[in-house]
Symmetry: C2
Subunit: 502 residues, 2 copies
């Protein structure tokens, strides 16, 4: 292959990026439709289409001509601006990864994932792990094999972790989780001695219609532009984005509780803020989209916990909650709402967990994934191991698999190595808060007035605008300096000590 000029080669690369982005868009719309609108019986046809699209995308990226194109552009690296350099780097990462996975395995895997999601949903609804087991077995087997393709020189699980958080290893995570656990466990022990009962308002009836209005309100307070961001309903809340003017979040409403959807909307809204805040120039390039799962979770958990579970935020939204749910909130004041949202108690469901014990839920998944990928745990033994670890780490008995190892959608999406990002994101967000307060002063005074503009402005300036232009480590360090989990453990200690007068 001969290129007339660097400009011509770059044009070719950008055409490739645009085509690839269009397929990702199409795939993403099909995925969103599947989770929010498609008839239950329609999975088979969607699987066929997913298979065809995966094959086309594989051929598009793995095409040997791309290797020549990327080599040429790397030879002329000096002539490229920083953005183009990063485009070459990210495309090469994709190219190499695809070329390591044989085409038929890639396609087979994508078809499997489509079927697995339907199987997981059925398994969860009937609390029947057996229904999902064969799919999870295949997903684990694929991931073990893929890990070897990604990087055969490191332990398989490290290779998978690196897919979600560049450079992350079990060694780092073991140390991180060790430190976090040694903070959380004694704090939780002291809190449990105080045994604060649950306020009855938590489980009163909340009509879905009123909850929908509440979601609209929360999105408005967050400053999510509804012209570019919608909300839909799905079994498991998630965010999906096609460009910085087309982002969707979902939630799941429960008739008997207000708080789960409230937390989901703010959490997914945080993801959405990140994607909406990307600079226009990254649209339809390979650099569009958040730079890593950990940085993404830092944004969702920043809004969910550091803003959404703060006293200031609750004081601001309390009148609206009372207006939307006058009967349910008749005997509830802002402080009750604040305490309910922050009530620390060992529990079964990760997404409903309090901010303190949340990381314990992640550690269970981390331990299971490590063992599955190492081959020291079989899929059939996951329910027993899950239940054992929940008892040991979280301190609860798991009554059934729906409330146990079937609660999360992630494995059915093939995401193994993703869960640690949630804990990392929480830790990142605490350090961001620290720096933000140093630079902006009393942000909670703004929050109490319902004004998130300075908070969002800071995140946009330091994180959001860059999309995937900066690597995760770089974007974090440019904003906050070296990562140090102490900011997170200090934040938890301070918050819960004050909350429970420990």
């Amino acid at each position: 292959m001969h290129y007339e000029s660097v400009a011509q080669a770059l044009e070719k690369l950008r055409k490739l990026e645009k085509t690839y982005t269009a397929y990702v868009h199409a795939q993403g719309v099909i995925e969103l439709d599947a989770a929010t609108a498609a008839p239950k019986g329609s999975w088979e046809g969607r699987g066929i289409t997913a298979g065809v699209l995966s094959e086309v995308m594989y051929d598009l990226i793995a095409n040997p001509e791309n290797g020549e194109l990327l080599s040429y552009l790397k030879e002329h690296r000096e002539e490229l601006d920083e953005m183009a350099q990063r485009e070459v780097e990210v495309m090469e990462k994709n190219f190499l990864r695809m070329n390591r996975i044989p085409a038929e395995e890639y396609v087979e895997y994508n078809v499997l994932l489509n079927d697995a999601q339907a199987a997981w949903e059925k398994a969860k609804n009937t609390s029947d792990f057996e229904c999902f087991r064969p799919y999870l077995e295949k997903i684990v087997a694929f991931n073990r094999k893929f890990a070897g393709y990604y990087d055969p020189t490191v332990p398989a699980y490290d290779a998978l972790l690196n897919e979600y958080e560049e450079g992350m290893t079990m060694q780092t995570l073991d140390a991180f989780f060790g430190k976090v656990r040694s903070t959380i466990v004694p704090l939780m022990g002291k809190i449990l001695e105080k045994s604060e009962p649950e306020h009855p308002f938590v489980h009163r009836g909340y009509s879905v219609d009123q909850q929908r209005k509440f979601s609209d309100y929360l999105m408005e307070v967050m400053g999510l532009d509804r012209n570019y961001c919608t909300i839909a309903e799905s079994e498991h809340p998630f965010t999906i984005n096609y460009n910085n003017k087309d982002v969707r979040i979902t939630t799941h409403y429960f008739e008997d509780s207000l708080l789960p959807s409230m937390s989901s909307v703010i959490h997914e809204g945080g993801h959405a803020m990140y994607e909406l805040g990307a600079d226009d120039k990254y649209n339809y390039t390979i650099l569009y989209g958040g730079t890593s799962m950990g940085i993404h979770e830092s944004q969702s958990r920043f809004y969910e916990n550091i803003i959404g579970r703060s006293e200031a935020f609750i004081r601001f939204i309390y009148p609206k909650v009372k207006e939307l749910f006058p009967e349910q909130m008749a005997d509830v004041d802002a402080n009750d709402l604040y305490r309910a949202l922050n009530r620390a108690e060992p529990s079964l469901i990760r997404i409903d967990a309090d901010e303190l014990s949340y990381c314990l839920h992640i550690m269970v998944r981390y331990e299971i994934e490590k063992q599955l990928i190492a081959g020291t745990l079989e899929v059939k033994d996951v329910p027993a191991e899950w239940n054992r670890l929940y008892k040991e780490y979280v301190g609860v008995d798991v009554p059934n698999d729906a409330a146990g190892c079937l609660q999360d959608i992630h494995w059915s999406f093939g995401n193994i190595g993703y869960f640690p990002s949630y804990a990392l994101g929480s830790a990142y967000s605490a350090q961001m808060l620290h720096v933000m307060r140093q630079e902006l002063g009393d942000i909670y005074a703004d929050v109490e007035k319902g004004d998130l503009s300075r908070v969002t402005g800071w995140l946009r300036e330091h994180i959001h605008q860059y999309a995937s232009f900066k690597k995760p480590g770089q974007v974090f360090e440019d904003a906050c300096g070296k990562f140090d989990a102490t900011y997170f453990t200090d934040y938890l200690t301070e918050k819960f000590t004050k909350l429970y007068h420990l």
Copy 2:
């Protein structure tokens, strides 16, 4: 290109069909999302993706290798079964059509259509034709050019008609519409002399939530399997289908009226029945999907009018209507509901038109399209011509363009030559009713019990199962014999003479 065997060539054709079908599926999901769920500001990115997908689909079908493949298969026609013969025929039609349209025009047109839909919606909402005019001008110009590509030997509008209804011509339509008009106009004249006032229940408030429940009920009565068919909400009701296990209908609820959405749901439900009733073997082949717009409309209008506006059907659903809307229906009996649904009166909006005057609405569009494509009418003069024809044909004054030439989405989809299918479909459906009654006897006795199984069974046996395997003329004639508009005019005369005691 050399083929080892007919079997190998056929396998290649079917792979092509499957790939093409997957793209159509992806495009369709994006289209559905755009109309039902996407944020308003997201059209730009969708346009880019639509452009890329169109280009890929163009290359896929127009690929010269397909020409060789199709020639080879045609040479071995005798060795192919009937289904494969038809697949070759339909694929060749697509191949030839694509090859007549230059790639860049095809892509440009598809991007234009994406933008046109957003412009049309804005224009309609603000009743500002100028906002849509430049798009419509380009759409008309493209269609005039495309008509020459499709078939340069016939008048341009005939070439467009043939796209929606194989073999249809202005000559046939002029005669058909002449006959229909000469029946409708005198009937309408006599009805207007009787001047029956509108029942007040028609415009009482109907909550959207209750209307949603009513839609669910109607779909249940029709026998639409919700496991394979969902309903969503959009500006303009439509049906879209990906395979016989994934069909979607949409409706538009109006708070101040029950009847528009009721009619839409039954109409779109009729389209859905057709697509759900296709034989499994056509899925993921080029033969999946209804065989023509006229046959499609015969199914939607069969359910909407011949079933949905029948006395028997209304008597059956009346108790449910009363249960869902007790206050609004307090002073309404089944006969009032029947008469309201069949009240013949010249009106402005096609989709709300009564069964009798409906074809007059179509004739206005037919006359305008003929002139636009012949070049004897400019787009800027469409509003004036529309208003003039509405006065002459329908007998009403058009107050603004939103209620006039902006009321339909079709032109923004590029569908010029489509509208006559609605009238043809109505006429086909009347002849189907005639044959069905000859063969099955008193179908309205079934309908009055809410049992549509024999009706649907007949349609499935004679129409639905074949998808595009039979050509429209063939499927109709195999079921009903030669088409004769007299069945339609007789049906209208009988129904409205009885209804109004003429």
